[in-house]
Amino acid sequence: MNGFGLYTEGFKLVFGDPQVLLLLVVGSICGIVIGALPGLTAVMAVAIMTPLTYTISPQAAMALLLGAYTAAVFGGSIGAILLKIPGTPAAVMTVLDGYPMNERGEAGRAIGIATVSSFIGGLFSVVVLTLFSPIIAEMALKFGPQEYFALAILGLSVIAYISPGSMVKGFISGALGLLISTIGMESSIGFGRYTFGSIDLLTGVQMVPVMIGMFGFSEMLSMSEQINIEIKRVSSKLGRILPTFKELRDLMPTISRQSVVGVIVGAIPAAGATIASILSYGLEKRISKRGNEFGTGVPEGIAAAESSNNACTGGAMIPMLSLGIPGDAVTAVLIGALMLHGLTPGPMLFQEHLDVVSSIFILILLGNVAFLIFGIGAAKVFPYIGLIPYKYLTSMLLALTTVGAFAIRNSVFDVGVLLVSGVIGYFLVKCKVPVAPLILGLVLGDIVENNLIRSLILSDGNWFTFFSRPISGFIMVVSILITASPYLAQLFTGKAVRKTENIEDEV
């Protein structure tokens, strides 16, 4: 890779157009609000905003979406601290120490620590992203179909594994996504599969309406069940918000450790911010000097969870940008958004559109700066989030999702796709089947199928081809170990190891 170009190429794209920076600010503000509101998640924020980006330039689109993504992951902590309800699933661990601090009248301090920790975590992850994604993209140029197939399988195994509840359900969801991806024209002879004579289905099910349906519409249906979730205005006195230098110095070991954990978890295909913050909180509880005080309102607890979940953002972008394999549900939606602009993430993106890649690096960095400014500067208005009327919000979400699905290619048919996927998503969640694997399966469907077929052609139909090449063999073995690990653990310890249950699905 031609060194410095990676950082400079995108400058003109980002700073040459005032629209880009304006949209970053809009995205950041919307992201904080959506993230802070319980029930509305980061992936929902990005999914609902994707249709807005269809008519603008790719970098303006990324400004809005990355601004929203980074801010929403941070915003979850506001709900956690002020309302005792995590605004996004990734903020579950922030409740444990954030709310007790609020009760002690230190809500402002808690928000300040969450903001700064999130910022440092996010910043660190951008550095890692810029360092590693070009290297991985370079390596990936040598990848054959076997490696791509193996990577996609790894992504699906990980997401099925980490999904709450039963792993079987995670795999069912992923396989359903793969099956949906086969709808439409296939590539070998151009035969239209499962089209039922519909011209609209010949081009396949559009990813974005499915994503808005599964992450936006179905959530909206769930919200409509409970109209009395209106939350009273929080009367928390915030107090001082900006952490002192000494406070920060004391928290730095925690923040730096857990930022590393967050980036690594984020970079593993399909393991997202929720899992990162849970892992980090648990780890820090063991390592930290104040570990036994965790849960009573210690800043270290907030710092661990928040630095980790925001470090995940840059981490998740690594496999997404360099390999085209999403690092979590949000990056799966981002792939859909990039594809709307004819940009397919993967090693070729670094070759052909280095400026866009570079602008993404700069934008995710600026996204972190934006939420730092708003998080500290606008903290005074955060207690008002309790006033947002959910009754009206549900209707407004419906209007935005329907018109959004329509806007992508001016198709009423896609609104139907939205409705159907929303209903399917709603029932899947009711049956405790996670939706994120389905979206991953849908995004990865083409990669899985094409590379499977190419590999089998190259190997003359020998399925062991995936194991006889070192890299793909390694990845396949890891995938199998992940899938088999609960059973292996059972075998060795003689008793069932329960997976983390009751953690809200990261949808």
């Binding site: 807005l52 269809y54 008519t55 603008i56 039963s166 079987v168 359900k169 795999f171 069912i172 396989a175 359903l176 793969l178 099956l179 086969t182 296939e186 070998s188 002879i189 035969f191 599969r193 499962y194 909206m220 249906l221 769930s222 409509s224 069940e225 409970q226 109209i227 009754k391 009206y392 549900t394 209707s395 407004m396 419906l398 209007a399 935005l400 329907t402 018109v403 329509f406 806007a407 001016n410 009423v412 609104v415 139907g416 409705l419 929303g422 209903v423 709603y426 029932f427 009711k430 049956c431 405790k432 089947v433 899985v448 199928e449 499977l452 077929i453 089998l456 052609i457 003359d460 139909g461």
Partner: protein, 148 residues
């Protein structure tokens, strides 16, 4: 026994049956590729077989499980009404145009959510205008204007 798992498993098996049945009438690739069985139906069938095995695993698990779970209950009919309203939107938006259909949808859903109809009326008009300005005026998305 988890009833919801059993039902879900059976639904998936049914889906697999239908999806597999559909592949039977699909053409084979005429090229060398087809000679190896890598027809258009190859990949879907692989996925369907996986899905079938997973569904059987799910049903097996639901039989073993002793935990008495309620399965899913529908706590309210509101989601159903929202779905119906959206279906109505899809049916009429082309003929009636975005403005009227969207305002009607917003009004109905806001009332379903328990808001007084006078307030819902004001909200649906304002909400529709906001969405219209955002998509039509700012983002230049051509919205259906109806056949008036």
């Amino acid at each position: 026994m988890k009833k919801s798992d059993l039902v879900l498993g059976l639904v998936i098996i049914l889906l697999c049956g239908l999806a597999f049945g559909a592949t039977l009438s699909w053409p084979a690739s005429s090229s060398v590729v087809g000679a190896r069985g890598l027809d258009p139906s190859f990949f879907p069938r692989v996925v369907i077989i996986m899905l079938l095995l997973l569904a059987l695993l799910l049903i097996w698990g639901s039989r073993k499980s002793t935990s008495e779970e309620k399965g899913f209950t529908l706590p309210s009919i509101r989601p159903f009404l929202v779905v119906l309203t959206t279906a109505g939107y899809i049916a009429f938006v082309k003929q009636a145009g975005f403005l009227i259909t969207n305002a009607l949808m917003l009004f109905v859903v806001t009332v379903i959510m328990g808001v007084k109809s006078s307030r819902a009326l004001v909200f649906s008009v304002i909400g529709t205008l906001v969405v219209y300005v955002l998509f039509r005026k700012i983002l230049m998305v051509p919205l259906p204007m109806g056949n008036w």
